[in-house]
């Protein structure tokens, strides 16, 4: 508790507060506009965070993601299009309720639930992270290797599209991370003699390309049509909200718990949490038949869940260096760029920074309420923002952001190439989130693999002898057996139709 208070002191600097305010506006803006995901927003934010101090950089991301995940529910309710993929699970119900004239109730309760969920996730981080750090102190390269593989597997298996495609995406990301000078011998790999490629593929422009530029290309090829907007009377947003929340308090708590759990699992994030919570809500509901026709229950439960997942995802990210979701994959990349390695050492040497983060998790969700209310008021204008203005602006920020990192035009080339690849991949049902995870974790995985191999004198059995390694290895293998069995049983028939979402 006092850690949070100490952190609040740190946050009280004008520079940090300015960053918080701007990131919040940015997050609400991006979340409320369909087609712009929180992951893409994080990707575009990174060039700015690159030049900020670690606290401001991380605080910006925390604030942005909290706002964006809430704001994604606004267009879901108003025009039946989720602003971010994590709102997709209950778009139908939100929209139906709005059509029934209860739009302001939906948005109001969603706002409170998002804030509550976010705080639950934050508390989980505050409480659980130090405990897990004690565990992490016993981790060696073997455990880190399996943990990373487990995280990559989680992302590959649960991302949209079939697990097969998810696995291919992850491997693609891993292979991209192998371009450049290798860790063991310093040998240039896949550089084709290019000096620029010797430094490897910088993950920031790659990510901006994958999420930002690919969306610009996608919009150019398939312009969205204007949607009819449902009306919302914003003065009545919190009307009757206490009674509603009291009636559904079980859903709130359950959503928060499920969301925290899913978020804390490596590789799975807010969108998975939301889908799972809707399923759980339906399973335990007294009126499951109303789901899809305007039930408030999935909105409450999943709205809490997806925000809870956000904070919880930072647990594995900061303790083990394994991302809990795509955004924390980006966070890990940002940390490493600033020379801060996730893990027990971070908790020891950067206690101040972590206090600031703990405080920010709470503060961001408190701030969400007034700012979210403002966003609801401005919602109609936000949602209707013309694409032909917005997309060129995103492209411009992508280019300049990519360039600004190291003033190297080659980074812009990387951005463009990854943008085209990203578009093509998504159009064929290959999820992009796992690519980023592979790219960010590639070095870590290989490094731990090689260190472990060298320690074990190239005997692969050593990967299974330590108890923790064995457990993690078994979990990984078990995770892969399920889809594998399914594949064999169906004798290879295609699993899922291509789904186009970029993660959250």
């Amino acid at each position: 508790m006092e850690a949070v208070l100490q952190g609040l002191v740190l946050l009280a600097q004008p520079k940090v507060l300015l960053v918080v305010f701007l990131s919040a506006i940015y997050g609400l803006f991006v979340g409320a506009i369909p087609g712009l995901t929180a992951t893409m927003a994080a990707a575009l934010l990174v060039p700015f965070t690159f030049f900020l101090d670690p606290l401001s950089a991380l605080v910006a991301i925390i604030t942005m993601e909290a706002m964006a995940i809430f704001a994604g529910d606004i267009p879901a309710a108003l025009v039946r299009i989720p602003g971010t993929p994590s709102s997709a699970a209950y778009t139908e119900d939100s929209y139906e309720l709005t059509k029934q004239g209860k739009g302001e109730v939906v948005l109001g309760v969603d706002l409170i639930c998002s804030a509550v969920g976010g705080i639950m996730g934050a508390v989980a981080f505050i409480v659980a992270a130090p405990l897990l750090v004690l565990l992490a102190l016993h981790f060696t390269s073997f455990e880190y290797f399996w943990m990373a593989v487990l995280g990559l597997s989680g992302a590959a298996l649960i991302a949209s599209g079939s697990p097969l495609r998810g696995a291919i995406s992850v491997l693609f990301g891993l292979l991209l991370s192998m371009v450049g000078i290798d860790i063991t011998l310093g040998y240039p790999r896949f550089t084709f003699g290019s000096v620029d490629l010797l430094g490897g593929i910088n993950f920031i422009p790659a990510m901006i390309g994958l999420f930002g530029v690919s969306e610009v290309i996608r919009q150019a090829l398939a312009p969205r049509r204007e949607q009819a907007l449902a009306a919302v009377r914003t003065e009545r947003v919190f009307h009757g909200i206490y009674a509603l929340l009291r009636r559904h308090k079980v859903q709130v708590v359950r959503g928060g718990v499920v969301g925290t759990y899913i978020g804390a699992l490596p590789g799975t994030g807010a969108d998975i949490a939301a889908w799972l919570s809707v399923a759980v809500a339906r399973r335990f509901s007294k009126e499951p038949g109303k789901f899809g026709k305007g039930s408030i229950e999935p909105v409450i439960e999943a709205g809490t869940s997806n925000n809870a997942a956000l904070g919880a995802a930072w647990i594995p990210a900061l303790v083990f260096g394994i991302p809990g979701d795509t955004i924390t994959a980006i966070v890990i990349g940002v940390l490493m760029m600033k020379g801060l390695r996730p893990g027990p050492i971070l908790f020891e040497q950067q206690a101040e920074l972590l206090n600031g983060l703990r405080a920010m998790f709470i503060f961001a969700n408190v701030l969400m309420i007034p700012l979210g209310l403002l966003a609801i008021r401005l919602s109609s204008r936000l949602v209707r923002m013309p694409r032909n203005i917005l997309m060129p602006v995103i492209l411009a920020f992508s280019i300049v952001g990519s360039y600004a990192i190291s003033n190297n035009p080659f980074d812009v080339v990387v951005m463009l190439v990854m943008g085209i690849i990203g578009y093509v991949m998504e159009a064929h049902g290959f999820p992009l989130g796992p690519v980023v995870l592979g790219l960010v974790l590639g070095r870590l995985v290989e490094e731990n693999f090689m260190i472990s191999m060298i320690k074990a004198q190239w005997d692969p059995i050593a990967f299974f002898t330590r108890p923790a390694s064995l457990v993690l290895a078994m979990l990984t293998l078990a995770a892969w057996l399920v889809p594998l069995a399914g594949f064999v049983q169906r004798k290879g028939a295609p699993v899922a139709p291509p789904v186009s979402t970029a993660g959250k």
Partner: protein
């Protein structure tokens, strides 16, 4: 059919990686080196690519790839790509302010925005970028022929 192509492409990439990585030096004494991880990942990719292609073959109804017909939208997408390339080539000469304004305006108008909206939006964006990057973050952006 598209699955088949995607699968074969992935398999091809994986195979190429494995073949390239075989020539990487080793640590000596029979121990592996920088080549082992790419070979593992590439090999796995090749295997999964073949599985995808095989799965795709089961659902093949025709040999057509099902690519959408080339229409005006492809022009828009091509314009986006071309704009980035043009930006890269011209920015050392013309500088950040001119090129970014030009790029923004060009794309906005090409996608159908009216000038009365596009022009102020483009100028406002460049102004905000300048404020954020050059002023707040102190990042140098390429100056144009007149120094800004």
């Amino acid at each position: 059919m598209r699955d088949v192509v995607a699968g074969l492409l992935s398999a091809g990439l994986g195979a190429w990686i494995v073949l390239t990585a075989r020539s990487f030096p080793t640590l000596g004494g029979g121990y592996q080196g920088p080549g082992i991880f790419p070979q593992l990942a590439g090999g796995l990719l090749a295997l999964l690519g073949l599985m995808l292609a095989a799965a795709g073959l089961r659902g093949v109804r025709s040999l057509r790839l099902g690519l959408p017909a080339l229409g005006a939208e492809w022009l828009q997408a091509g314009l986006v790509v071309a704009a980035v390339v043009l930006y890269l080539l011209a920015v050392p000469r013309l500088g950040f302010v001119l090129m970014t304004s030009g790029l923004l305006l060009l794309l906005m108008l090409a996608q159908g925005a009216p000038v009365r909206r596009g022009l102020p939006a483009a100028l406002a964006t460049v102004a905000i970028m300048h404020l954020l990057f050059v002023r707040l973050l102190r990042v140098p952006l390429p100056p144009g022929p007149w120094g800004w």
